[in-house]
């Protein structure tokens, strides 16, 4: 086999989907189990082309349920693993996404959002899965979901998604959208070592003393890999530190509270957002993904009319950067939230603004991005209330 370079350092003109796959490879992903679906197919396609040449494995599974299972299994086999999907595929992955949360399995799930519900508009953009990302699997849990706004960020945030998944041991969501996924733009891939890559947190404890779900001080347990000589039991049932099912409310309290708290307690390390002239703005636009980028045009138009308009761009949608937004809400005249849905992240924004300023949703049912003038009108409208 001819030796391929695993990290393609340098300047490229890549689609968001391709950049996302390359981000996975940079982070050390060597297993991809997936089922192609527009507009996420190009992530799988890139992995199918690249992984076998660099010592990785690509498996096209029979469906998305099996894909998510394969990804979890590969992680327990010691690989960094990922999958990508969209629309109905994301719904199918939800059950085993929850299994990944419960079994604390590091991996990355990319959702290139298209317009739904159901099969909806397969080739066109939506942002309707933001609450599904948060609550789509059953039970009590916390998630990490990252939202890239450009192909470059699709690369960088996929690397970060892997790092967070290893650090906190859970499946991390990359919530792209069709426009970012299919848009082609300059992507600079750094040299190996330039970006932090977090390795698996491996246990140093001898097999006879090892407890697979006994956490370190940061609430995250170190991991071993199947076949290393450790006896491990991994289950979706509520379990103790040995990993054995314990069907009691006490075991539930201890385990599920820790699963949530490992994210809640460490949220400052996880949270990420971008502000552009957000301090003391008359109007603050809160957006994410392609919509945050589209919003820059109406923001510039409003600034030309003399308004002070800022952008607060969510990079982590989950956890939500509520402390910072609560602070900004105290001084802002109004908040505008454009999303390609009928209102999802706007509920989080309203919770943080808590009545201190008017919050205006600019909804869009999907199929394209917003018309800049629709966002501009909302900005001008809430500015009147100041």
């Amino acid at each position: 086999m001819k030796a391929e370079k695993s990290i393609l350092s340098g300047k490229h003109f890549f689609q968001g989907d391709t950049a996302c796959a390359e981000g996975g490879i940079y982070a050390g992903c060597r297993f991809f189990g997936g089922y192609p679906i527009t507009p996420a197919t190009e992530v799988a396609e890139r992995m199918a082309e690249r992984l076998p040449a660099i010592g990785g494995i690509y498996i096209q599974m029979e469906d998305e349920i099996a894909s998510m299972c394969a990804v979890l299994g590969a992680a327990w086999g010691g690989r960094k693993s990922m999958t990508s999907t969209s629309g109905p595929g994301f719904s199918l992955m939800m059950e085993n996404f929850g299994l990944g949360i419960m079994t604390e399995t590091p991996c990355v799930l990319v959702n290139v959002q298209r317009a739904g519900p159901s099969t909806g508009l397969p080739t066109a953009v939506g942002q309707g899965d933001m609450m599904q990302a948060r609550w789509g699997s059953h039970g009590v849990y916390e998630v990490i979901a990252l939202c890239p706004s450009s192909p470059q960020e699709a690369f960088n945030l996929t690397v970060r998604a892997f790092n967070l998944s290893e650090k906190y041991r859970l499946p991390v969501l990359v919530m792209m959208d069709e426009v970012v996924g299919h848009m082609t733009e300059k992507v600079v891939i750094p040299e190996p070592g330039e970006l932090e890559v977090v390795p698996r947190r491996e246990s140093r404890v001898a097999p006879d003393a090892y407890l697979p779900f006994k956490p370190d001080a940061d609430l995250v347990p170190p991991m071993v890999r199947a076949g290393q000589g450790y006896h491990i039991h991994v289950t979706g049932l509520t379990h103790d530190e040995r990993g054995y099912p314990v069907i009691t409310k006490e075991a539930q309290e201890k385990l599920v509270r820790r699963l949530c708290d490992k994210i809640r307690v460490n949220r400052k390390d996880i949270l990420s957002w971008e502000e552009r002239e957000a301090e003391n703005a008359d109007v603050l636009v809160v957006a994410y993904g392609i919509t945050a980028r589209i919003a820059m045009l109406p923001i510039q138009m409003a600034r030309k009319k003399g308004l002070k308009v800022g952008l607060f761009r969510l990079i982590t949608a989950w956890p939500f950067p509520e402390e910072r937004l609560r602070k900004l809400a105290g001084t802002v005249g109004g908040v505008v939230v454009p999303e390609i849905n009928y209102g999802q992240m706007v509920f989080e924004v309203e919770r943080c603004v808590a009545g201190k300023a008017p919050v205006r949703l600019v909804s869009h049912m999907g199929g394209s991005t917003h018309r800049p003038e629709d966002i501009l009108n909302a900005i001008m409208d809430v500015a009147k209330n100041k």
């Binding site: 426009v179 733009e185 300059k186 589209i294 820059m296 800049p372």
Partner: protein, 188 residues
């Protein structure tokens, strides 16, 4: 060229998206400026109107959609009919003259006709018509530098076809330079 928008259109299978990819790569990788490529196409991979949209700028590109293309290239009647009205009032439209019957041009606008597919056919390789068209574009428009476009063609086409594609590019370029009206399009 600070900010320019190019729309390349035709039917699926003509290599329109690849042409857009090449223009965007020329600008962002070989000129080290910024470019975004977005694309529209139907569910079919052959036939149907398809279009590649490139926005290029020296600055960061906030809005990646085309508002009013400075340059509009049409290689099929269906695509021409769908998009010809969007071109900027003083913009440049380029058509494959054997495949498109043009409608009235906006006053101040310019229309150039050229036979990309026929020229490619003359090389015995009809499928390089998209690259012939890019060579022509380089000759008649100053939106992208010719050298950057050539580099982008070389690094984007399948291995082993570089020479063929460079020949196709040169054919389109020479054709463009021979046209009497081949001055840079209405930017003034």
């Amino acid at each position: 060229m600070a900010h320019a928008e190019i729309r390349l259109s035709g039917f699926g299978g003509q290599g329109i998206i690849l042409a857009g990819q090449i223009v965007g790569k020329a600008v962002s990788v070989f000129e080290d400026r910024n470019a975004t490529l977005t694309q529209n196409y139907g569910p079919e991979s052959r036939g149907g109107a398809c279009c590649a949209q490139v926005v290029m700028s020296d600055e960061e590109i906030a809005y990646p959609d085309i508002v009013e293309p400075d340059v509009f290239v049409a290689m099929s009647q269906e695509a021409y009919n769908k998009y010809y009205e969007d071109v900027k009032p003083n913009g440049l439209s380029i058509i494959d003259e054997d495949l498109v019957v043009p409608k009235a041009v906006k006053s101040g606008g310019r229309l150039l006709k050229m036979p990309a597919t026929r020229l490619a056919d003359g090389m015995g390789k009809k499928f390089v018509a998209n690259i012939v068209m890019l060579g022509f574009l380089a000759a008649v428009s100053d939106t992208v530098s010719t050298d950057a476009l050539k580099e982008a063609v070389k690094s984007s086409v399948p291995k082993g076809t570089e020479e063929l594609n460079m020949k196709a590019f040169q054919l389109g370029y020479d054709h463009g330079k021979r046209l009497p009206a081949a001055t840079p399009a209405g930017k003034e």
